[in-house]
Amino acid sequence: MLEARDIRVRFGGVVAVNGVSLTLNANEVVGLIGPNGSGKSTFINALTGLVGAAGTLELDGTRVKLGVPGQMSRLGILRTYQTPQLNDDMTCLENVLTGVPDWRLRSLGASWTRRRSMLKMEREHLERAHAALAFARLGARWDQLAGGLAYGERRRLELARTYAGQPRGLLLDEPAAGLNHVETSGLVELLAEWRKEPSGPAMLIVEHKIEFLEELCERMIVLELGSQIAQGRPAEVWADPRVIDAYLGSVTIDA
């Protein structure tokens, strides 16, 4: 479904992502790991247009322009962020509503000239948003301000916003960062549940928590210093000496 080839990102003289390729098939869950600074987040930022990048990106064979935000959303690929990116002054429901990928009648002009159809559409979106909040176990908190939520709830609210978008693909940037053990397993449960739905999305998960990945991923890709150093099934990857080196460092013992 999603095919990224030879993605490169440079920040001045630093090569943050150096020719990383990725194939994400429908309904597949792929883990993306690597030590801090290995370019995982930058890779996702490159795919979603937040940073300029070179390389090719295709979705079902159609080329997607790199460096232009919003392209992926319009083609059904959504993302979350390392720290939840919500508008704290809006309610949970409003935050989720912004993620409904139906932009008809959401303009200034429509608010003046096409009120009736606009309100009708708004009610349809409202159903989707409430369903998404219920999915994220936030159904009862719909009218609370996002700014007042606990950290774990903010994570789930961000997930609800993508759920309302009914994506084909989902890019998750450290979804379990800052969550405790119980919250993490709750999140795993949520993602597993979503995957089992008929329209469940393919997922690319950047994560450090090993148990998180092992429960969800079929395949993993390991980055170090912007380049891919290993890929395969989780068990294979963890046994790979280069991966062990990258994570734990290597010691050469002079006899």
Binding site: P69, G70, R79, L97, T98, S107, E127, F135
Partner: protein, 338 residues
């Protein structure tokens, strides 16, 4: 549990979930507020006194409320600050006078002023699209100054500092609005219409998208919204409204000169928005009424008026950061914290 399961379980009627109040953009009591404003506005000339002077003060309130509503659109909604207020206001005024004389009366003047405001707003957003907050504000200030210089030199159009006296009175269906009170009602109707349009916008998904665009631009862009476009649109509407204020001002007097368009207006309008409440549609009206009437009432203690004025501004800014419109919320917050 799938979406359809959930929908069935919660038994949604088409559109309206059971036990869930109206949709988010439909919250608030803006329509009752508008009703109250209209009621007060209708009787204001009778309450505030019937002399030309009293009515003049009232119309000044209306004009400043319109100007501040323009800033509300630019800044509170669009997140783009403007100091070009006085230039756009002047452009609206002179364009309106010219169009009224050459194209057919006050109404074509009003339309022309709206358009020139919108065009200027569009130009500013296009030219300074890449400037960040503070630099954008300074750029708009420069635009205001440039416009005023242009009008000073272009004397065939504006009369410069010696002024312009060839101004058509507004008329409605051939009926000349030849007194200050009649013109007050015209201006008030325009203000009420602008408030209604603003409420329409606030009660729409577009306002919500704009809020995300303003506060979390890159996120909004990734979601698939067009943050810059939405912000520019609000800015353009704001400038158009300030153009309208210029037209209203021009046709209420028989003579205008450039002295009326000083940078002080941009500051005054900013103060009105801050005092009235940046984040509330009630703000512009409250701020304008307060800052026009306060000096009137302080005239008896003229010696201390600046002091009282300064202290009042400080108290509001420090104690009620959301302005007068947000006093209730601010007090509630303190009580909840205590």
């Amino acid at each position: 549990m799938s979406v359809t399961d959930l929908l069935q379980r919660t038994r949604l009627r088409p559109g309206v979930p059971d036990g869930v109040p109206a949709t988010p953009p439909l919250r608030g009591r803006q329509y009752p507020f508008l009703g109250l404003v209209v009621l007060v506005g209708l009787f204001a000339p009778a309450i505030m006194g019937g002399s030309d002077y009293d009515t003049g003060v009232l119309t000044t309130v209306i004009i400043h409320a319109v100007l501040t509503l323009g800033l509300f659109w630019c800044f509170s909604l669009g997140g783009l600050f403007t100091f070009a207020t006085y230039g756009v206001y002047a452009a609206g005024a002179y364009t309106s006078i010219w169009a009224a004389n050459h194209l057919g009366g006050f109404w074509s003047g009003l339309v022309a002023a709206t358009l020139i405001g919108a065009v200027l707003g569009a130009l500013i957003t296009v030219l300074f699209a890449r400037c960040s907050m503070v630099y954008f504000a300074i750029a708009t200030m420069a635009c205001g100054a440039l416009l005023v210089i242009l009008f000073r030199e272009w004397t065939s159009f504006t009369g410069g500092f010696s002024g312009q006296a060839d101004i058509k009175l507004p008329s409605l269906f051939g009926y000349q609005l030849d007194t200050y009170v009649k013109r007050y009602y015209l201006m008030f109707a325009v203000l009420a219409l602008l408030l209604l349009l603003t409420i329409f916008f606030l009660r729409s998904p577009a306002a919500r998208d704009l809020q995300l665009a303003k506060g979390n631009g890159p996120v909004a862009a990734v979601i698939g919204l067009h943050p810059k476009r939405a912000q520019s649109a609000a800015f353009i509407v704001g400038c158009a409204i300030q153009g309208i204020a210029g037209s209203l001002y021009a046709h209420n007097t028989s003579y205008i000169s450039l002295e009326a368009f000083h940078i002080d207006i941009a500051l005054l309008v900013l103060l009105m928005l801050l005092l009235g409440g940046v984040s509330s549609i009630y703000g512009p009206l409250i701020g304008a009424a307060l800052l026009i009437y306060l000096p009137e009432y302080l005239r008896d203690i003229q010696k201390y008026s600046d002091l009282v004025y300064g202290v009042a501004v400080l108290v509001v800014v420090v104690a009620f950061p959301k302005g007068i419109a947000g006093v209730r919320g601010s007090i509630q917050k303190r009580i909840n914290h205590a």
